[in-house]
């Protein structure tokens, strides 16, 4: 009886915020509970949910090390594991020269090419024997060096990581090897329609002047010297912009001393970047940018434009709206273009939410013969979320609940927790972000969804990038009348039409 009452209250609470299906589920609950008390099973009754589990956000301690790095420690003792990461605020967008794109990645790779006391092979063997692997990478707005290991291997693995970080020797022959392998990868990307679409989209939307529009090329890769790598290491890997996260089966009293000791040779210094980017190019009229891939079985679509940064007050409304447009499997785009029309194996949409104007992007692989119909469907759904197809109560409930109730999944592994905690600091979020999340999502209203869809999906200036079989798709795409067609090559340069 208590359960029935609880569910009935749940029904009322959810109905108040518009959850029609939830309400019907809760009512079904009453019937189902009755059935469980002895009546025959009626499979038509959807079993009701139990009481919503209480959210347990991990708690962490925070300290500033003597070299200026932030240290956050989160305990999790159910398994003998420790995740260790040093995340750097800012990445290649802030610290790479346009002519030397690739130097950040080269430097990260070269950390494991030898230190003042260990050869590259010795570093590799030591990691293998510890059953761990130290990963280093730099992306656009952050960088990281990290490992996860058994608790019993934490201290020796930490000592190895510190050696890579502080004492690398960057042997010149290793740079040439890495450069050679990178050139092969770049050549292979020219055969890969998804990679072509991603690169052309970035260049088309942001242009050469904005870091978001820059793409690593053979030319920039060839321009990187060993001196560049040494200089990048010296400038970038600094404790002043580092957030160190230690997560797992550690003794919180000992861990600070362990980290201080391991990183004793890492000199203080380093500023946090301002993320002051140049302005994005003035929006251009909507156009289809077509890259020919003769006889392609699919057309790869990337449609979008610059979006808001992560600090937008519309973040929560956009998350819910995007979930309904193209985030969920049952989102409008995927449901219609994949499930109903059968044009694709999957389409979706996202907002990148960078420290700058990260892109809105809707994408997917479309069977060649239906490229025109799919484009019409994309446009229909962009207009739909802007008001022409009203959101149902159940859509909105689903869009919110899927975000709110999936939060605990982020806290199931030491890596997940470490990332969740570190991102508070690397993305400059409030420390109560996770506790506040459900309330902020719940507060998003129907009008907010339509408002942000109109504000951030600018239909008149969409960049529609399509990589596919031009001979088959160009005519039908033109016939849709959606936008003029500009033919580009795989580097995003205009092709002179014969």
């Amino acid at each position: 009886m208590k359960r029935i009452l609880g569910l009935a209250q749940d029904c009322i609470r959810r109905a108040a915020c518009g959850g029609a299906l939830r309400c019907s589920l809760a009512l079904a609950a009453v019937a189902s509970t009755a059935a469980a008390q002895g009546k025959a099973l009626d499979r038509d009754l959807t079993p009701p949910p139990g009481p919503t589990p209480k959210l347990h956000v991990p708690t962490w301690t925070r300290a500033t090390l003597s070299n200026g790095a932030e240290l956050v420690v989160t305990q999790k003792h159910d398994l003998p594991l420790v995740a260790f990461s040093i995340d750097f605020i800012g990445g290649s967008y802030s610290y790479e020269l346009a002519a030397k794109l690739g130097v950040a990645s080269f430097t990260a790779q070269m950390l494991s090419e030898g230190t003042t006391t260990r050869s590259a092979d010795e570093l590799s063997d030591a990691q293998q024997l510890l059953g761990t692997s130290i990963a280093a990478f730099v992306s656009g707005e952050s960088g990281s060096i990290r490992f996860t290991a058994l608790k019993s291997k934490f201290e020796p693995a930490l000592a190895l990581l510190a050696d890579l970080l502080v004492n690398p020797i960057f042997p010149a022959p290793a740079l040439e090897r890495i450069r050679g392998r990178t050139l092969v990868t770049l050549a292979q990307q020219k055969d890969q329609p998804n990679a072509i679409a991603t690169n052309v989209f970035a260049r088309t939307v942001y242009g050469d002047a904005h870091p978001y529009g820059r793409v690593v090329t053979e030319q920039t890769v060839r321009a990187v010297t060993r001196d560049d790598v040494v200089a990048f290491h010296r400038a970038y890997y600094r404790p002043g912009r580092a957030v160190i996260a230690v997560t797992g089966d550690v003794d919180p009293r000992a861990v600070r001393a362990q980290v201080e000791k391991a990183l004793a040779g890492w000199a203080a210094g380093g500023e946090r970047p301002t993320f002051a980017y140049p302005a994005v190019p003035a929006p251009r009229a909507r156009a289809i940018y077509l890259i020919d891939k003769p006889k392609a079985a699919q057309s790869v679509f990337e449609i979008g434009e610059p979006g808001p940064g992560r600090d937008t007050p519309d973040y929560y409304a956009l998350e819910v709206m995007n979930n309904l447009l193209g985030g969920l499997f049952q989102s409008r785009l995927n449901h219609d273009i994949r499930e109903v029309k059968g044009y694709s194996y999957g389409v979706g949409s996202s907002f990148a939410f960078g420290r700058g104007p990260g892109a809105f992007n809707a994408s997917g692989g479309i069977v060649t013969a239906k490229s025109d119909s799919a484009l019409i469907a994309f446009m229909t759904h962009f207009r739909g979320v802007q008001g022409s197809i009203p959101f149902t109560d159940d859509e909105i409930t689903q869009g919110k609940e899927s975000l709110i109730q999936s939060l605990p999944a982020r806290f199931s592994s030491v890596n997940g927790i470490g990332n969740a905690v570190a991102s508070i600091y690397t993305q400059a979020l409030p420390e109560t972000f996770y506790q506040d999340f459900a309330g902020k999502i719940a507060a998003v209203g129907r009008d907010d969804l339509v408002r942000v869809a109109r504000k951030y999906i600018d239909l008149e200036h969409l960049n529609i990038v399509i990589v596919g079989d031009r001979a088959t798709i160009e005519g039908p795409l033109r016939q849709t009348g959606i936008a003029p067609i500009v033919v580009l090559d795989a580097d995003g340069k205009p092709v002179v039409v014969p």
Binding site: Q128, G342, G346, S402, S406
Partner: protein, 500 residues
């Protein structure tokens, strides 16, 4: 092979693993998980501490319903979520030649609603409440899972029971045709539109005779997918989707007594299925080397080598895994060191064993750097393997292959679904849900002489050597004169390997 409801992007770009899996929706994370579970422990191994750790343990309870459904329950209250994972012991090997891709297409149909579950409700009660779902198909088995907040366990069980018992009640040809289109799109995205996307299919077709149930790709051939009918679905369902051919693992935050009551309530009334005749998969014998060349839309050629190895039933699968780790991966692995670091003739190299339930293959593939031919890479690869066959691995190499085992296992314990997959795999393939401990022990105790022996036993002269070369540049193949050209049949139904 694994293929799935949603995409997985992983193999198009990276090709570090063959397309042995098909998935309902795109999910690189799922792909990694499936790869992990297929190989019960992580790819990192290594030695050191000699004894098996106490941490290599997943507490569980097992029960069997009267209709034959095997149920495994493993409680873990760490996070308020629960995984429901159903395995059916059916995969592409249960298909018949000419009707390939059916088991996987069926997996898609399983998400379109059932007798008491309208279309859309499955996603509504999983993803729509903060959970997720997917399914995947291999040569040997098909799985379906839901990860949900723990208060949605009962509805997840209701969903799985309904499609196990009542799928056909609501199935019509329109629903079926829609999923058939989607699967064709999956194939286009994962295979036909990907550089090198056909390489593994070609090697498999060359290695196994056409009648062998492991000879066709899990995702199937386009022409045959188009032929599939709704009646095929019905026959397939009745035979293979019975509780007596299924296992159900529930892992996570729940009350065991309550879960058992729900399982009995929703699954108890379903009918046991007819006896199933399992297909006979004869391990292939390749008497002599088969050399092939395939022209693809690529700028960089690539060399593939594939040998028949063994199924998981023989004990050699453990040493073959160690052999893969000794050959490629870290910079001190033998092929990686020789090709990528010392000679710098290759941009990358991968070597691994892929053992399925009844047979397996050992695969090496190498991507050259400019000015290095596939013939040169083949010669280097062969000389490295020959040296290993002659001298065996060093004690240090053996120590490295086993040192990461415990970490790999303990890491997997952080995922409810990861544990469910380990338990289901153990139960379905070994009839013992705790068999993963045996796997672990046997991996840990592989010796240098075991590795030397399996290298000599399996990496012999009988193999397939495939050069994938740019269109119009067959001369980039290794030993073109003795290679047979491969083309795709006009209907996309199979590969033609012409003799000269």
């Amino acid at each position: 092979m694994v293929v799935s409801r949603t995409v997985f992007v992983a193999y198009g770009l990276h090709l570090s693993t063959p397309p042995m899996i098909s998935i309902r929706k795109s999910s690189p994370a799922l792909f990694l998980l499936l790869t992990l579970a297929t190989l019960p422990v992580n790819a990192q191994r290594a030695g050191g501490d000699a004894k098996s750790a106490a941490s290599v343990r997943i507490p569980f309870e097992r029960m069997t319903l009267a209709n034959g459904l095997d149920v495994i329950l493993s409680v873990d209250h760490t996070v308020p979520r629960v995984a429901v994972d159903v395995w059916y012991h059916v995969g592409s090997k249960n298909e018949v030649p000419g009707h390939t891709g059916f088991a996987h297409m069926f997996e898609h149909v399983m998400f379109t609603g059932s007798g008491h579950v309208p279309y859309g409700m499955h996603d509504r009660l999983t993803e729509g409440v903060g959970g997720d779902n997917n399914g995947s198909t291999t040569q040997d088995r098909t799985n379906y899972y839901e990860n949900v907040p723990s208060n949605y366990l009962e509805s997840a069980l209701w969903l799985e029971a309904d499609r196990m018992g009542f799928l056909l009640d609501k199935l019509d040809s329109a629903k079926f045709a829609a999923q058939r289109d989607i699967v064709q799109n999956e194939r286009r995205q994962g295979t036909d539109n990907q550089p090198y996307g056909r390489a593994f299919e070609i090697m498999t077709a060359a290695l196994y005779p056409e009648s062998n149930p492991y000879s066709w790709p899990v995702v199937g051939y386009i022409a045959e997918l188009q032929k599939a009918t709704v009646n095929d679905v019905k026959d397939f369902f009745r035979l293979y989707y019975a509780p007596s051919n299924a296992t159900l693992a529930i892992v996570g935050d729940f009350d065991a007594a309550q879960a058992k009551a729900w399982v009995a309530r929703y699954f108890g009334g379903l009918k046991r299925g007819a006896a199933i005749t399992r297909p006979t998969v004869t391990p292939p014998v390749v008497a002599a080397e088969k050399r092939l060349v395939f022209e693809d839309r690529v700028q960089v050629p690539r060399l593939y080598l594939e040998w028949p190895s063994t199924g998981i039933g023989t004990g050699d699968t453990y040493a073959l895994r160690a052999l893969g780790q000794i050959l490629s991966g870290p910079r001190t692995a033998r092929l990686t060191k020789a090709l990528v670091y010392d000679r710098q003739s290759a941009a990358s190299v991968n070597a691994f064993d892929n053992s399925a339930e009844n047979a397996g293959v050992f695969i090496v593939f190498v991507t050259p750097r400019p000015d290095h031919s596939l013939a040169e890479l083949e010669a280097t690869t062969d000389s490295v393997i020959d040296r290993l066959k002659r001298d065996g691995p060093t004690p240090e190499e053996m120590a490295k292959t086993s040192a990461g085992l415990e970490f790999g296992f303990v890491s997997a314990l952080q995922s409810n679904l990861g544990k469910a997959e380990i338990l289901n795999r153990s139960l379905v393939f070994y009839r013992d849900a705790a068999h993963y401990q045996t796997d672990y022990e046997r991996l840990r105790t592989v010796t240098a002489s075991d590795v030397k022996r399996v290298a000599n036993t399996y990496l012999g002269a009988g193999r397939v050597v495939l050069s994938v070369v740019p269109l119009g540049k067959p001369d980039q193949a290794s030993k073109l004169a003795s290679s047979v050209k491969v083309t795709v049949s006009p209907d996309g139904g199979h590969y033609i390997m012409e003799s000269r």
